[in-house]
Amino acid sequence: MIAYLIRRILYAIPILIGVNLLTFSLFFVVNTADDMARMQLGMKRVTPEAIEKWKQQHGYDKPLLFNAHAEGVSKISDTIFFQKSARMFAFDFGSSNDGRNVAREIQTRMMPSLAIALPTFLIGLLIYITFALLMTLFRATALDMLGVSLCVLLMSISGLFYIIGGQFVASKLWHWMPISGYAGGLDSIKFVLLPVLIGVMGSVGASSRWYRTIFLEEIGKDYVRTARAKGLSELRVLFRHVLKNAMIPILTGVVVVIPLLFMGSLLTESFFGIPGLGSYTIDAINAQDFGVVRAMVFLGSMLYIAGLVLTDISYTIVDPRVRLQ
């Protein structure tokens, strides 16, 4: 087990290097640091001196990959690639354009993001699986048809609609809760409730339908027939046998996203004005803050890879046949 884990983590390293190289070439080769400086300083009336100064301030005034002027190790280390990209492996994300430390910013913004993402994830999972099980229970009846049609309809509606519509109905029409904002502690509940509800609502169609196909695939198998032949009730068959056996495909889709919960949701957070990582990213995109976007890309892929490892581990827990070697 431990050996397997170590191997998995080692395997993740080349992938992370790949991600790093990719973002590096996106951010520094396609557009040079000069271009970025010009963007930041405004298009007009930019003097070469101003560009040089900006580059120096933000540490972009070095060669890309190889510094011929330096001595020894610093031939490689005194470059943009090493300073800006390779350092991310040590969680050193540098600073954003307004001079704040990105790593610290990420730490403080993680909690609000989690406060939204975690309840959305858990409540959502519960509702989707219940809904899907119900549809499986009433499979091939009018109720099932209705459920599936509802799912298709729900998944055809843009996610933006749920957010805008929900905000309008709950906050403006009924005055249930504030439209946007966030507060720490217990106060946060009233800010969190609506985004969570909308988040759950937003993917109820696609997810329930997906779980339903998983359950339907399981229910056609032989062990289900055996269970029924033993005289078990349909409910018992569903919950004791089908649900357990459908765990592997469910876990495959679900565990991967758990680490990504830290990243928060781009849309929800920016609409509801929650100071989480999602809105941080959006602000950075709008302000063209490359340092932050770069850091978020790297963080995101790191979390995704962590999710993959977690998925493998979770298999061993639900399925005794799976051995990690």
């Binding site: 991600v19 996106l26 995109i285 995101g300």
Partner: protein
């Protein structure tokens, strides 16, 4: 370019027709009423999109030296068709089917006093003398007439197409069978015959409903703003119809970009295995491990900088917007091929172990021939299903990306930009809801039709679903 695509689809259809085992699943699609109805809706959208793609530059009146000068504004055939609603712009917001502006304005009355009231619209309901009294009656009258007209035209069109089809069939039977008794059906009896057939019935009813709806809209749009006007007084119906093209372009071009990647790399990885497989797997793991929105955002940001740095490349702002749109498709394609690639790799791995491939190998058939003759045709159903399924999600993704600020150029009309500009209007008092409603409504119909069609295609092609 888009017409090339259309030609390919038609050629593929002709090619498929000749092969009975390929016709079979399509016939299954044709037998489901849901699939056919959604196909009809989709083709309607595609028609609007195609009309909007035929661009031209209007020639300005000739100058004295006889040289023809073209205006800078690029128009499309659709613009010409919808010239009425395009040119009739109001001052600012107006509600659907309204005769008054939505904002109060200071007006001078005939006695010279200044009065703050809702002014009459320049075009909406301009023919009415006393809108407050006549509006409802006029709208109802036009609705009725429009519905009737639409119904009539619809019935007429269907009857004519039926007759043509019937004539065609008769022609074929006459030429193929010598002396067979020619039935003396006419168009109407085929019409009644079709009513007994379930999908045909659904299709006919939908077609008639659409015809009625179109009739009503056309009739009302002649004198009103059916869906109101936006902030600068543009007709929302026109904007929404224009947005269809952007959605379609993103859906199709992205798929086109994605397909070669996914097909080539997926099959190569599955068939060749070894280090090729390792490299390709590495590439798609790296790409898919970056959250796609972030990757797209990063790429689009970089592209923006790039475009700003080279303003001299673009003659018109429309060209720039178009390039941005294409580039967005490119990025979306590059980020979205990994899923299909993984599927294809798995399927190819499975296929290459099957007996018939091994037999081909034993006979000394070259790898390239095995790939093109045996493997590619046998993974096509996966490709088709994936392509149709992806389409709707791409249309939805466009709206989200445009909101995030990494979508299409703000000057391009799309559902995303429409929603984005209308988002803050919800906060106005009284609320301006029609722009949002129109954007979401059109998007819902488009995506729903695409989803339902995708389901029909999947049901027909997926070999895992057993059917009797």
């Amino acid at each position: 370019m888009i017409y090339l695509l259309l030609a390919t689809v038609l050629a593929a259809a002709v090619w498929i027709r000749k092969r009975p085992h390929l016709v079979l699943p399509w016939q299954r699609v044709a037998k489901g009423s849901v699939g056919m109805v959604s196909l009809l809706l989709l083709s309607l959208f595609v028609l609007v999109g195609l009309l909007d793609t035929l661009h031209y530059r209007a020639a300005l009146p000739e100058k004295s030296n006889g040289q023809t000068v073209y205006s800078a504004e690029v128009l499309s055939v659709f613009d010409a068709l919808a010239k009425g609603i395009k040119s009739r712009t109001e001052k600012t917001y107006s509600a659907p089917l309204a005769a008054y502006l939505y904002a109060k304005e200071s007006m001078e009355t005939s006695e010279g006093k200044i009065l703050r009231d809702y002014p009459r619209l320049r075009y909406g309901g301009a023919h009415l003398v006393d809108p407050q009294r006549e509006l409802l009656g006029d709208v109802l009258k036009r609705t009725g007439i429009g519905a009737l007209e639409g119904l009539l035209i619809g019935v007429l069109l269907i009857a004519v197409s039926n007759m043509l089809f019937h004539f065609f069939v008769k022609f074929r039977t006459v030429s193929s069978s010598t002396g067979g008794k020619i039935s003396t059906d006419n168009g109407i009896s085929i019409f009644t015959g079709a009513m007994k057939n379930k999908p045909c019935k659904a299709l006919l009813i939908t077609a008639l409903l659409i015809a009625m709806l179109l009739g009503v809209t056309a009739n009302l749009a002649a004198v009103y703003h059916v869906l109101g006007t936006d902030k600068v007084g543009q007709d929302v119906l026109y904007l929404a119809l224009k947005s269809i093209r952007t959605g379609l372009v993103i859906g199709t071009v992205t798929t086109l970009v994605m397909l070669p990647f996914a097909l080539l790399l997926g099959i190569a990885a599955g068939y060749l295995r070894g280090w090729v497989d390792d490299v390709i797997q590495y590439i798609y793991t790296v790409l898919s491990s970056i959250p796609s929105v972030l990757l797209i955002a990063a790429a689009v940001l970089m592209m923006q900088v790039y475009i700003e740095m080279h303003p001299e490349w673009f003659e018109t702002s429309a060209a720039r917007a178009d390039l941005r749109l294409l580039f967005l498709c490119l990025i979306l394609g590059v980020t979205s091929w990994t899923g299909l690639c993984r599927l294809l790799r798995g399927e190819t791995l499975k296929l290459r172990e099957l007996e018939y491939i091994q037999a081909a190998q034993a006979f000394g058939v070259s790898s390239s021939r095995i790939l093109t003759r045996h493997i590619v045709p046998n993974v096509m159903h996966i490709v088709l299903i994936a392509v149709v399924m992806d389409f709707s999600s791409l249309v939805l993704a466009e709206a989200v990306l445009s909101y995030v600020g990494v979508g299409v150029d703000p000057s391009t009309m799309s559902f995303g930009t429409l929603i984005n500009s209308a988002r803050l209007e919800m906060g106005r008092e009284p609320m301006v809801w029609w722009t949002l409603a129109a954007a979401f409504g059109f998007m819902l119909v488009l995506v729903l039709a695409a989803n339902l069609f995708a389901d029909a295609v999947r049901d027909a092609f997926d070999p895992r679903l057993n059917r009797t």
